[in-house]
């Protein structure tokens, strides 16, 4: 594969934060807006998942 990092301009480095790229995502069980718990396993049964931690904007 080509050098993806160079192509994308490299990852954003944040001081004191270790990248989790390539690691196994932490398991979770969190309540959805309907109050029902959703697990990582459930959300990734059919394919990959994009999780977006938002701060008041979309």
């Amino acid at each position: 594969m080509t050098d993806v990092g160079a192509f994308l301009g490299g990852p954003t480095v944040i001081e004191g934060r270790k990248s989790l790229l390539g690691e196994t995502a932490p398991q979770f069980q969190l309540a959805g807006d309907d109050g029902k718990k959703l697990s990582l396993q459930r959300l990734t049964l059919r394919g990959p998942l994009l999780m977006h931690f938002y701060r008041g904007n979309w």
């Binding site: 989790l20 690691e23 979770f28 959805g32 959300l43 990734t44 394919g47 998942l49 938002y54």
Partner: protein, 207 residues
């Protein structure tokens, strides 16, 4: 993120938004914004902590999760973190087109996706009417219409024709039509979105 939800879903990727919130607030937010995706509550920031995005920031001393995105592989593939983007500050925004590009690369796709939005005739008239001054309907003869208004009118129509032509060109050039959906601005339908894709090659990503 809302308007890019379907772009992300077209890659076969599930999408959820998370925040340090209570589920009740999320129910209200989802209904008010009519969001097509789930909002997950991380009230104790446990997950944010586990993902190393929990930090002390503005306003002074408040602990909060940084805006961040994580692409996690399917359960069958071991839930590996394929891609991450963590914003250094809450004001930091990433270009949606860049996110799409990075997601496709992380997923091992070499595909190009083009979105064409063709305004509906109703929307076109709505926009033209909004540009008219004085408002549409007061003019009787072409002489009474300000030249600039006519230019705007023609320009809007040309844009629509160009969008139509682009849809036909892509279809004729071997691009595959992946999705057609109604484009909304709030509750108002404004046109049709055509999503075309073309595969360059597929990189096996089984490492």
């Amino acid at each position: 993120m809302r308007q890019h939800y379907w772009d992300i879903r077209s890659l076969g990727v599930e999408f959820v938004a998370l925040a340090n919130e209570e589920p009740d607030n999320h129910a209200e937010l989802r209904e008010r914004l009519d969001l097509p995706f789930q909002l997950l509550a991380d009230p104790d920031s446990e997950l944010a902590r586990a993902l190393h995005i929990y930090h002390e920031n503005e306003p002074a001393g408040r602990l909060i999760a940084r805006p961040a995105m994580f692409l996690i592989d399917s359960h069958a593939n071991g839930n590996t973190i394929l891609w991450e983007h963590v914003s250094p500050t809450s004001r930091h925004r990433v270009e949606p087109s860049r996110i799409m590009e990075e997601l496709m690369t992380a997923l091992g796709f070499r595909i190009q996706v083009v979105n064409v939005i063709v305004p509906s005739s109703g929307e076109l008239e709505h926009r033209i009417a909004a540009l008219q001054h004085p408002p549409l309907g007061l003019h009787k003869t072409p002489q009474e219409v300000q030249p600039g208004v006519l230019v705007q009118r023609d320009f809007m129509r040309q844009l629509t024709m160009a969008a139509h032509a682009e849809v036909h060109r892509l279809a004729a050039d071997g691009w595959r039509l992946k999705a057609v959906s109604t484009e909304y601005e709030g509750a108002r339908p404004v046109g049709q979105r055509y999503v075309f894709a073309r595969t360059l090659d597929e990189v096996t990503n089984m490492s």
